[in-house]
């Protein structure tokens, strides 16, 4: 017979991943709920999942590629933008959607126990599904443009995983702080917008002047985007600085995210 001990937790303990695995069916149904509700009462339904990344990619490609004639390292501009948008959406949509998840699910949090981490994870579920659909679109685009894939494609999952984990870390920070100060919910879109411009999504990082390159590469998301782009389209591999700042950004965001989430977790039910 299982024995549950209820007592104040120690200052820092690792997440009880075992318990999350036990509740994986809940994670599944909560994600399913979010996905279903997103496209309920739309006539196009799943088509929106395809259009959402594709339409902006086309607009940017026409604007920057055809009119402004920005460099794209010899690749079709549309593909360059699209490969940038996939990891970026995974990262930023997680924060955007799951950042308010704890507040939005306060009814559940104050009435029933389950591993709290399930809530932000489930909200990220719909982002992951969107990402998978985008990957499908990417495959079609690659075929249409006749782009051959290389061995570096093997690195693609690694960069996507990195985008997911970095997104998770920041999501945990935003979601937890949002419980106490709803201001975060309002500030996040602006911050993400600014961050968007500091990341080579709709342009190539080769556009950045040489003397600013190092400073620019300190942005952890630069590595995410350029890394994924390189693994799909080839070209110039990412620099060591990009890689290092990406990895340290990832570790830092996960560590801070978990610490903040745990610190605030015990009081959720009293505050939301």
């Amino acid at each position: 017979m299982s024995v549950t001990r209820i007592q104040p937790r120690r200052r820092f303990s690792f997440f009880e991943w075992k318990e999350i695995v036990e509740y994986r069916d809940l994670l599944y149904y909560l994600s399913l709920r979010d996905i279903k509700l997103r496209y309920k009462q739309t006539s196009l339904g799943a088509v929106w999942v395809i259009l959402q990344p594709l339409v902006p990619a086309i607009i940017f490609a026409v604007l920057f590629g055809n009119f402004a004639r920005l460099p794209s390292n010899g690749q079709p501009y549309l593909l360059m933008v699209f490969t940038g948008l996939i990891p970026w959406s995974l990262f930023s949509n997680s924060i955007g959607r799951a950042g308010t998840s704890l507040v939005a699910n306060s009814g559940l949090l104050s009435k029933i126990y389950f591993p709290r981490l399930i809530i932000p994870l489930a909200s990220m579920g719909s982002v992951v599904v969107d990402g998978l659909v985008s990957l499908g679109v990417l495959v079609v685009l690659l075929a249409l443009f006749g782009i051959g894939l290389g061995w570096h494609l093997l690195a693609a999952p690694f960069f996507l995983l990195a985008a997911f984990l970095m997104g998770l870390g920041l999501t945990l920070i935003v979601a937890s702080l949002n419980v106490y100060h709803r201001d975060f919910g309002y500030a996040v879109p602006f911050v993400l917008q600014a961050w968007n411009y500091l990341t080579p999504i709709v342009y190539s990082s080769s556009l950045i002047p040489e003397r600013w390159q190092f400073l620019y590469s300190l942005n952890p998301t630069v590595g995410l985007i350029e890394g994924f782009r390189w693994s799909v389209l080839g070209g110039v591999p990412i620099t060591v600085t990009m890689m290092a700042s990406m990895l340290s950004g990832l570790v830092a965001s996960l560590a801070i995210g978990m610490a903040v989430f745990q610190k605030i977790e015990r009081g959720f039910a009293d505050i939301v």
């Binding site: 209820i6 007592q7 104040p8 069916d25 039910a269």
Partner: protein, 368 residues
């Protein structure tokens, strides 16, 4: 910055043997909900320790996580997994749940199209098929219609018959009396009594009569949620004058003042629960459409002359919305009043002691 420390619970120590049904009673703010939240792991205790042997199922409300846009089937799985069931376990009891709720034809319809009865039945059906070793139950039984309450009580008795341990928190002394072997009384976060249910409930009832009165003013600290809050209650006569006691010969009213804060999604229906001697005498709610505009409202129920017996009655005030099922407030044990009768009343036929019974209506007789 100075902050006052308030202990919702302090020095609470008790043990519930396996297979026992344990009741927890106490006034609003006594710490019952906090105790439940700690034992169901919703809030973490500041200090202290609890040990639970076995799988816990906690029902602090029925239908947690139900989403109006999702179908009955989807809600069963979502709600079931929330309660800690695995998908496979739900597959096994799925048909039984649908049978119990009697929603076969609508199982793939969004629950927003359900009647309130169907909605509540489905919500309770999922909870009823959860099979934990230990069941922690809040006053889910206090809301809903009578038939639903009966069904819940029946199911509860089944559960307790199976040798499951139950921790039951309630204001309804009669329910506690029927279901629980042992009972604990909480007052201001401390345990004041643990013992056989009947003796604990009796002394609790006696103490609540002392402190509550026929005038309740909550304006300084209204009770309720974002939709509706209770501001107070008083006993009145037809001209609106306040009464301090009722006379068995005269009609009187119990008036509740409440405030609607925002246009509600459904009707906010006031309902009053009359208790005497720890038993629910009756529950009453208005038949016509209640006011829906934001602002202050009064709900008065008129008790005809020669209806209630002489004695002390307590009234619980609640405001509920049927769909989605929601209880805005449930104010208990804070209001009571006396009905008195002149000793030389003809109807007493000279009886000096209290005439037994919760009601004493003047009925028509045929005498031959």
């Amino acid at each position: 910055m100075s902050s006052e420390i308030f202990w919702a619970l302090r020095d609470v120590d008790f043990e519930v043997p396996r297979g026992k049904v344990f009741g927890v009673i106490g006034r609003n703010g006594a710490g019952k909900s906090t105790l439940l939240k700690i034992l169901s792991r919703i809030t973490e205790p500041t200090t202290g320790m609890a040990e639970i042997r076995g799988r816990v199922g906690s029902l602090l409300e029925v239908g947690t996580g139900f989403h109006p846009e999702l179908s009955g089937r989807e809600n069963i799985y979502l709600n079931g997994t929330l309660l800690g069931m695995r998908r496979r376990q739900i597959d096994q009891v799925f048909d039984a749940i649908v049978d119990f709720a009697e929603v076969h034809r609508f199982i793939d319809t969004p629950v927003k199209r359900y009647s309130s009865g169907m909605y509540v039945r489905l919500a309770f059906a999922v909870a009823a098929h959860l099979e934990p070793d230990i069941l922690i139950i809040d006053e889910v039984l206090a809301v809903g219609d009578l038939q639903f309450q009966k069904k819940c009580l029946g199911k509860m008795k089944d559960v307790t018959g199976q040798g499951r341990t139950v921790l039951f928190v309630s204001h309804s002394l009669s329910t506690v009396n029927t279901l629980c072997d042992t009972c604990m009384l909480l007052e201001n976060g401390r345990v004041t009594q643990i013992g056989p249910t009947e003796s604990v409930t009796a002394s609790y009832f006696a103490s609540s009569e002392e402190t509550a009165g026929s005038l309740l003013d909550l304006t300084a600290d209204p009770l309720g949620d974002q939709v509706c809050r209770m501001l107070g209650a008083r006993m009145v006569d037809r001209s609106g004058e306040r009464l301090s006691y009722a006379h068995i010969e005269r009609e009187f009213g119990i008036e509740m003042t409440y405030e609607l804060m925002q246009p509600s999604t459904g009707p906010v229906i006031p309902n009053f629960h009359f208790f005497t001697a720890g038993q629910c005498a009756f529950i009453t709610s208005p038949l016509h459409q209640p006011p829906a505009s934001p602002g202050r409202h009064h709900a008065t129920v008129w008790l005809p002359s020669r209806f209630l017996n002489e004695g002390t009655y307590s009234v619980n005030f609640a405001a509920t919305t049927p769909i989605p099922q929601c209880c805005h407030f449930h104010v208990q044990d804070q209001f009571c009043f006396d009905v008195i009768e002149d000793l030389n009343d003809e109807a007493r036929h000279g009886a000096v002691h209290k005439v037994p019974g919760a009601v004493r209506p003047q009925l028509n007789w045929s005498l031959r």
